[in-house]
Symmetry: D2
Subunit: 368 residues, 4 copies
């Protein structure tokens, strides 16, 4: 259907541009009867909003969400839920340059070709990382729904940033630590090192990439619709929809390619009456279906493309090569702000598949 939409039964259509009037989304398919207000969505948006610390862009946005439809008397009604935030701190002047000299690593040039030059180029327009705010709006509802239905929790964190890799932590520790440090690291030690690396790199007018790891606990067994809407297919699809993502892997992922079958297969045993696996190389997905073990996957983010250093590009007007120093305010790395986004897209896919599998009712509770 629409390339800007995702989800069959829990359906999110996103809209808005970086420097337009607003960013928003319409969520359709949420069961009726879920208690919902702006208070459920705002904290999630706050986790990704810009201007929070030295490790993010200095653009200041309140990102104050307003629910415009689909909620009545404090509960979802079963009708489409429109949510939006206004863009406030727009500084579009600095983007005039990039119309002529496209930024390396950005969509500027190709978007201009695809849309005949009519695309809103300001701040990257529809190709800005800012559009992920709409993913978070939908994700906040999905998270609440999944928590209520299954006690399901989605926990992402910066596993690696600029080559600094967090190690020696449990999921519980990651859950506790990740939002208490600016870089969203799972341990205080990694947080310190990552932050130091970011500050140092930003000072050089350069940027960093990293890996976000995401774990979901209490995922029901059997989510996914093989073959093309398998759980990993849909998670991979949505992960690659986040700007700056260049790869995704599940469980032992790329490292499994150097293991043998004996090493990689997860053997079954009984944990009481429950059948579980000794290892979790599958990352909780077998045959495209959730198997009840923790869902584990990793998302690779390239270093942020917008950097203060001088780069070579071309001038479309002159037809000659040109130097470019990307103007505007930028993130030295997108990884910390991407952490809540990865959580949100994971929740969106899980909520959709829980509904597709008939594991969530169309109506939650009964109004008196």
């Amino acid at each position: 259907m629409s390339g800007n939409a995702i989800g069959e039964r829990f359906h999110l259509l996103t809209f808005g541009e970086s420097h337009g009037k607003c960013i928003g989304a319409v969520l359709d398919g949420c069961p009726a009867g879920l208690p919902l207000s702006e208070e459920d969505v705002q904290p999630e948006l706050d986790l990704r909003k810009p201007g929070q610390s030295i490790v993010t862009t200095q653009r200041m946005e309140e990102d104050r969400v307003e629910i415009m439809s689909g909620v009545f008397n404090g509960h979802t009604t079963g009708a489409p839920i429109m949510m939006m935030i206004r863009n406030a701190d727009k500084d579009s002047k600095s983007y005039e340059a990039i119309r002529d000299t496209p930024r390396p690593g950005h969509a500027d040039l190709v978007a201009s070709i695809k849309y005949g030059g009519f695309n809103d180029h300001r701040g990257g327009g529809r190709f800005s990382g800012r559009i992920t705010a709409s993913f978070v709006m939908g994700g906040a509802v999905a998270k609440k729904l999944l928590r209520q239905a299954f006690g399901l929790e989605v926990i992402a964190y910066s596993l690696e940033l600029g080559g600094v890799r967090a190690e020696g932590f449990t999921v519980e520790e990651a859950a506790k630590n990740r939002y208490s440090n600016e870089v969203r690291a799972p341990t205080p030690k990694a947080a310190d090192e990552m932050k130091k690396k970011i500050v140092e790199t930003r000072g050089k007018g350069n940027s960093l990439g990293g890996i976000v790891e995401c774990v979901a606990l209490n995922v029901p067994v059997g989510l996914g619709e093989p073959v093309f809407a398998s759980l990993d297919s849909d998670l991979a699809r949505i992960a690659l929809s986040i700007p700056a993502v260049k790869g995704v892997e599940f469980g032992s992922g790329f490292s499994s390619t150097r293991m043998t079958g004996l090493e990689n297969n997860d053997e079954y045993f009984f944990d009481g009456k429950k059948i579980v696996t000794r290892t979790n190389n599958s990352g909780g997905i077998l045959g495209g279906l959730s198997n009840g073990m923790p869902l584990v996957f990793r998302v690779a983010f390239k270093p942020a493309s917008s950097i203060a250093s001088k780069q070579k590009t071309v001038s479309l007007k002159s037809g000659k090569e040109a130097d470019l120093v990307v103007p505007g305010r930028h993130d030295p790395t997108v990884v910390p702000r991407a952490v809540p986004v990865v959580e949100s897209v994971t929740a969106l896919v899980l909520a959709d598949h829980a509904l597709r599998a008939g594991l969530m009712p169309q109506v939650l509770g009964k109004r008196g």
Copy 2:
């Protein structure tokens, strides 16, 4: 819509089970007027069929395709094209065991839970790698269409297998070499080493994984529909739909996470009148859109799950732990046979997006 279908305008719905009557697909949306016969599809199927060499399963299948609709007078008509192969060499007896003792690394257990025990378990049923034959049927048509429309070529090969990585080759060499050796390696040297590794591992009742790299040349600029149907989103989705895939990466992929923006950004320059990039860390995709550079992505395959060695599992009947030696005939690695599958799914996505972008006519030529 259907989890067994993919593609909005070039739409493939797959059906069939490993040990059922047939494997097949219905392809809808192919423009009218494409010359098409079984002769176009059979060679592609032959590249993935089993029993070809020591590196694959010994199941013998002719995999003879029959086009049942949608073609008239040697051309596509614009109507749905149904294609199918009959299953011949089925040996289902050996699969009775796995109903009670699910195979580690397989969908046996989770499929049984999801479908209440009604799933066809024989040979993995709908979860068998054999279903990728239907991907290849559709892919064969997509390849022909893309070649005719754009001179577009899709070239995949076994980049790495069991830790042996092919090196020092050009795309042209890979294109020439890949199907002239049993392991689908891009160089004769890698082919020899990979084959040796496979034979050795098979002898030990074990299996191997690896990485398939895929390159597409002459991809038109601007394919992809951001944000959720971006080109990399759709390629990642379909790649993860291939059984045994655990990861996917584009361009510099996971290695980009350790690069800086300056290192990873691909600078533009003029190659005559054409704007190209000096490097191709983007893998030919920026902002979810093809940028005219070669499309490059890699798919990680875990080691084949079915192995002759003894493994621990559980007995569903006895409720106790049990030993399992997986019966049946198996591939010691799925990588070589996956190479034409990766090409096919890539072609399916590119054909779909070329139609979505309006770059291919609804009718090819004019009937006299």
Copy 3:
């Protein structure tokens, strides 16, 4: 997605041409565990197959259905169910004429323009009424599913044919009578008169139209997804997909346009503890949702286009006007054979919406 497919959760993709190798369909989304064999589908196909009596075409087809996938041990597996019939009694020679002189009232000319002359014109190809056999294949499964889940029954009949309107009957009588006469009339009296009219008209080389009325009993309350997938929206869509249909109306339909609100509104009252309406002008649908009253709608079929009388058309070769006597074997009216088709499409839509509403489980029963 595919124009040849319908249904979001109970999804039917159809294929095949009138004079090609086969007619068939893939049904995806049927819950696992439904007992199913060819014996469930064949009787429904027999009701619409040609050559049965003087009121239908003399083309003789066995229309013997084969289930090719998705069924194992006598039950559905949750995987796609492919069903097909072979075309046997093809007489394509007589169709050469219509390539040059398009038949009035048929798709010949417009299909040739749309598909650049590549369409299979034989017997109307993809535009033949014969493709409705694939609707019946899916409908047979839907009917069985709905009967089992809700005791839901779908009953269609020829309400009017060639101006002869059946009157004075109950739904129960219609259910009992409709398939015991060749014209599918709800009363023996109407059956006699309709048949007489058909024989007389056929003798004159002419054809007749009529109205099929369809009633569904025991429809659960709340089926339909407003606004564009409301129950009447989806029924109207699928009704108009049946060749020769020119209109559809629900409940009091077109006659409601001459009533006042007071006359047309259905007042509520308690029937025991159940809230029902005194009249059923709504036809069982309010606000696009089933309301628990009998679903009632009518489908208008134009007179069959293929007639033995001479008609004016044009010659594409000569560029001049030409006379045409349509060759081949034809139905003097499509109404009788359309009756099981209308039942089938109704069942397809109801099954889809019952699944969408979460009113049917993904798995029926439990395999021992």
Copy 4:
């Protein structure tokens, strides 16, 4: 996907409730480069807004549209276009009664059952005719696009209202007259009689229904995707999505059921070099495809359900029968305000199919 959305390539997702904050829609898939502003949409909204005359409800709404995304420098960008109007003149108090005593002919009761009582019942909520404002927002863009691309014009009018049928007019006269009278009749004479009938009926606390006829001129040949997305299928679907619609017919429609094939078939002849038909009983659609003749169809509207007269209903609280006088401000007939709505939905379907057929470019013109 979403039941609140329609269109595959020209995709409209609607949101909002009668007495909520707003009514709106997101339009995705509109080609880039179309000149667009609020000035293009507002006049269409003005044609359906309430409070305009004695023949409509006295609710006063400005219905001032705001375009929130997808437009930049006065042109569409190819990104989703969000449009909305604020609800101003809400008077929700009067709707408390209907929570207990559901209105006959309305969705009150069934919606409450489907959504567990969580639905927004005020003013009918999501089931109000007010939501058609969002159809008109999308339709306004579709109309502009179709006019620019093909010179295509969509002309609807009140053919019949309360039994008064307009007669003896040409399409040109209808086009000229329809919006110059309050009832949207194609002739001044019919307008006078219809208005008189409405005023008289309103005075009696009663309401009227009627038939809207819609004609589209200059429709390209070959629009429609058989079999389930044929042009008449999609038009029927969207017509039935308009509240109060109970039927739809194309060309000779229901009256064709009493004609013979010889009478109903439209014979071809050459009009210069163009092949046209002498009659237009097909209503411009053959085999589900537009045939180049004027598209003609009719939509049946039941009499408005909300009336001032006393009606019988039930009290959900007391479990007893009850009397109801529907409170609030209502239209004595929905027909006049439905005329621009029918035009809009027709344009939405035609624009979608023109894009699907590849007859409209993805980018209109080239930005300097």
